[in-house]
Symmetry: C2
Subunit: 448 residues, 2 copies
C-alpha cells in the first residue's frame, strides 16, 4: 500500500516514504537519538497542522450560527500538555472528567469559564475544586446533586450546573463507547428526572444553566445527532417552562467518529478477507448544520465536546520491526510497539490502519496476510489482525495510524514497559512533548 | 453476603467486617491518612501470609519429586518489589519478559541462574543484558535464534537457551489468555521446528539446555497439563536423540487458574441471574503429580512458572462508595475504584467477586442487582455486572477480590487518575509498598 497516496491529511507518502508534514518519519529516529534518547521506537508522532485543521473544521462551521457556541476539547482523549496548549491557542474550551485534569487545565492557564467538569462519580475534593474556581459542573445523578449541594453550603458558594440527561438513544457503536442509552451508568433517565429537578430547585446555591448529553463515541450517523438534539430541545423547553430562568446551554457532548479505515481497498482477491472498507463519516459541518436546524429560532447557546475528531487522526505510532515469524494458520510481524501504547484493538476490537513507513528491503517482500503483534506476553497484545502487506525487513519502520485519541492516555507499564516518547511536528520543526519514561520513573513510587 | 465466612484464605469476615490477616480493612484508611496520604482509596491490599501459603503449596508438592525442580515466579503478574522480595525470600526464581524486569530482578539481588528471560519480541539490548548476565533465555522463533546468535558473536559469550514450543493445545480459556495453540504468536510450531533446530546446531555459542511451553492462563483442567507434559516429553526425547547433550530442562510454564468465584451461591431466586458458581480448580499438587507421572524415570529437571496462582488471591482492591444510582434496567453502585486499577473485567470479561467490606448503614439496605462501576468516563469502566447485594451507604468500603495478579501492573493514568497506594499486611503489621502517584509524578515526563 505504501506506494499509494491515500492520505489527504498531514501524513503522506512520497516515493514509499511516510512523511509527517515536511519530516520523513525515519528522520525522527535520528533526531531522538541526537537528543540522547536510546530507545527511539515506539514513539507517538503528532502533526500540529492536522490538529489545527480539525479544530478549524468545527470553528468554521460554528462561526456562521446565529447563536453563542463553544467548542470544548474533551481532554481525556489526549492529555499531553503539548497538544492541549495548541487547543488553547486555537480558542478551545475544555471538558474535563477528573480533579487532576482540572488542576492541569488551571496550570495551563485556562480560565474557569472555559471549563466544564463532567463525571458520573466525582469525589468531594473534585467538586470543591470546580466550585471554588467557578467552573461549569455537570450533574449526573441524584446523589451527585446532593454531593454538590453539600459542597456549595460548606463553601458558601454558588455552582452553575448543567444537568446530564440520559436520552436513551442507541449510538450503534461498541458497547464500551455507548453512553447515552438506558443501561448506561451516565446521566439522569426520564423516570428519575423529577426527583433530581426537585432537589436542584430546593437549593438556591445551585443554578441550573443548561442540560448536557453525550451519546458515546465513534458515531458515524448524523441521524443520531439529530435525534439527540431533538430530545434535548424538548427537555430544554420543559425546564424553561418550569421556571429555570438561567437556562441557556444545550451541551450535546462529542462522539463524532473518524475514518479509521483510510478508504483502502486492500485486495481484489476474493479469498482474502477485506477488513478495510470505506465508511462515510459525517463532517463537523454536517453535525453543526443538523443541530442548528433542530434548535431553530430558540435562543440556545450550543456547547460541543469533541475529542477523537479533534486529535485522533493527528497522531501515529512509529514502531520498528523486530522480526517476521511464519506460522500456520497465521504469520506475524513482531514490532516493538504493543498494547501498552495502543490498547484499542484489544479493548474495543478497534481497527487501526497499519503500514510500512519506509519501503521494504526484505529479500522476499511478497504480500500476504499478517497479524501485527507486539512483544507483550499475552495474546491480547496485537495491533492489527489479517493485514495484507509486504513482508518488512528487520528494523523496518512501521506506522499505526489514527492513534492521536485514546491511546497514549490509556498507556500502561505492563511487562514493565516504559511509556514512549511523543513528538510534535510542525512543518519541518520537531518538538519532544513527552520524554520516554525511564526505569527510575517506573520505580519511583516504590521503596527500592 | 458479608455476614458469611466463605473465605478460607487470609481475607476473612468477622461480624460483617472484612479483615486481612489481623487488620480490619477500615483501619487501613486511618493508617494511610496518618502517613499524610490524602486519597486513601482506592488502594491495593495484599496479604503476606497468603503469598507464603501459595508458594508453599507448590514448594511442598515439588519437594517430594526425585528430580531437580525450580519454581519461577512470573514477575509480569505483579512486579511490586515489595511482593517480589517475598518471592525471593521463599526461594522462588523468576521468569521475566522484558529488559526492565531483568534490571529490577538484578537490583533485587536475584542471581542470574535464577532467571529465565522469555518473550516473543526481544529487543537486542534485552538479549545482550541476559547474555551478559548468563541468564537462561527462551528462544521463541527463527528470527529470535538469529538475533541471539548475533548477540553471542558480538559479545563472544555463550547463551544457554530453552526452545519455546507451540504444542498446539487449546487451554479452553479467554482468547487473550491462550498462548500455546496454533494461531498464537508464541513459540515454534512443529512445521518450523527443523529450521530452528538447524540454526541452533549451527552455532556453538548457543547451548540448548531445554524446552519450554506455556499454554495460557486461568486454566482449570488438569488434563490439559497432562497433555502438554506428554507432548513436551516426546520433543525432549527427540532432541536428546539428535545429540543435544546439554538438554536438561522441561519448562512447562504456568497457567493454573484460581477460583475467582468464591464458591458463593448468590441467591435461590430463579429470576435472578446467578453468575457466581463454584468451579473445581486443580491444586498445585494435582498439577505437579500429573506432570511427574508423565515424565516417569526420565532424568528431567522441571521448571514451573506460575504467576496468578502465587499472587492472584493475595490481593484485594479496597474502594469507597461515591453513591448509589437507581436506573432502569440497571442500578449502579458508583465507587472510586475503576478500570484504571482493575482492567480485567473490561479487557477479558473477567469476573471478580465484589462485596461490602463493612456492614451497610444505608437506610434501605435491601438486596438487589447492581452494576459496580467506577468514575472513568466510558462504559468499559465497570468492576462487576449484575451483582446481588445490599445497598451500601455513601462512603461505604467495598472490596474487589483476587486482584493480586494482572491488575496493579496493568494500571493506567487514563482520565489522569493517579495509580493508588499498595499496602502489604503481615499479621497486624502494615507496610506501604507503593505510595499513590501525585500529579507531579504524572506530569514528570512532560514539559510543563
Amino acid at each position: 500500500m505504501a506506494e499509494e497516496n491515500y492520505f489527504s491529511n498531514s501524513f503522506e507518502y512520497k516515493n514509499g516514504i511516510l512523511f509527517c508534514e515536511n519530516v520523513a518519519l525515519e528522520e525522527v529516529k535520528t533526531w531522538l537519538k541526537n537528543r540522547g534518547i536510546k530507545r527511539v521506537t515506539p514513539a507517538f508522532i503528532y502533526s500540529k497542522s492536522q490538529v489545527e485543521t480539525n479544530v478549524l473544521l468545527y470553528k468554521n462551521a460554528l462561526r456562521h450560527l446565529e447563536r453563542k457556541t463553544t467548542l470544548n476539547y474533551a481532554l481525556k482523549a489526549n492529555m499531553n500538555p503539548g497538544l492541549v496548549r495548541i487547543m488553547k491557542t486555537l480558542g478551545c474550551s475544555l471538558t474535563l472528567v477528573s480533579g487532576f485534569e482540572l488542576e492541569l487545565a488551571l496550570k495551563l492557564g485556562f480560565t474557569p469559564e472555559r471549563i466544564v467538569l463532567n463525571g458520573n462519580g466525582k469525589e468531594t475534593w473534585e467538586i470543591e475544586l470546580a466550585v471554588n474556581n467557578d467552573c461549569l459542573l455537570n450533574i449526573d445523578s441524584l446523589f451527585n446533586v446532593k454531593q454538590t449541594i453539600g459542597v456549595c453550603r460548606r463553601l458558601h458558594r454558588k455552582a452553575r450546573v448543567l444537568l446530564r440527561i440520559n436520552p436513551d438513544i442507541d449510538p450503534m457503536v461498541h458497547q464500551y463507547n455507548c453512553t447515552g442509552k438506558n443501561g448506561s451508568k451516565f446521566g439522569v433517565q426520564e423516570k428519575y428526572f423529577d426527583d433530581v429537578i426537585r432537589e436542584i430547585k430546593s437549593e438556591p446555591l445551585i443554578q441550573l444553566v443548561g442540560i448536557h448529553c453525550h451519546l458515546g463515541s465513534t458515531i458515524t450517523s448524523i441521524a443520531i445527532f439529530r435525534e439527540s438534539a431533538d430530545v434535548m430541545l424538548q427537555i430544554y423547553r420543559k425546564l424553561k417552562h418550569e421556571g429555570f430562568e438561567h437556562m441557556e446551554y444545550i451541551n450535546l457532548g462529542g462522539g463524532l467518529g473518524i475514518d479509521y479505515t483510510k478508504h483502502v481497498a486492500v485486495t481484489t482477491d476474493p479469498k482474502i478477507l477485506v477488513k478495510e472498507r470505506p465508511i462515510d463519516i459525517p463532517t463537523p459541518a454536517d453535525l453543526v448544520k443538523v443541530v442548528d436546524e433542530v434548535f431553530g429560532d430558540e435562543n440556545i447557546s450550543l456547547i460541543l465536546e469533541p475529542g477523537r475528531s479533534l486529535i485522533g487522526n493527528a497522531g501515529i505510532l512509529l514502531t520498528s520491526v523486530l522480526g517476521v515469524k511464519h506460522g500456520e494458520p497465521k504469520s506475524y510481524i513482531v514490532v516493538d510497539g504493543s498494547m501498552t501504547e495502543v490498547i484499542r484493538p484489544a479493548l474495543y476490537s478497534a481497527y487501526h490502519h497499519i503500514d510500512l513507513a519506509v519501503p521494504s528491503q526484505a529479500d522476499d517482500k511478497h504480500k500476504m496476510l499478517y497479524d501485527v503483534v507486539g512483544p507483550v506476553c499475552e495474546s491480547g497484545d496485537f495491533l492489527g489482525k489479517d493485514r495484507y502487506m509486504s513482508a518488512p525487513h528487520e528494523g523496518c519502520l512501521m506506522a499505526v495510524f489514527d492513534v492521536g485519541a485514546y491511546c497514549a492516555c490509556m498507556g500502561s507499564n505492563y511487562n514493565m514497559r516504559a511509556r514512549p516518547a511523543e513528538v510534535l511536528i510542525s512543518g519541518d520543526k520537531l518538538e519532544l512533548i513527552r520524554r520516554p519514561e525511564t526505569l527510575d520513573d517506573i520505580l519511583a513510587p516504590y521503596d527500592i
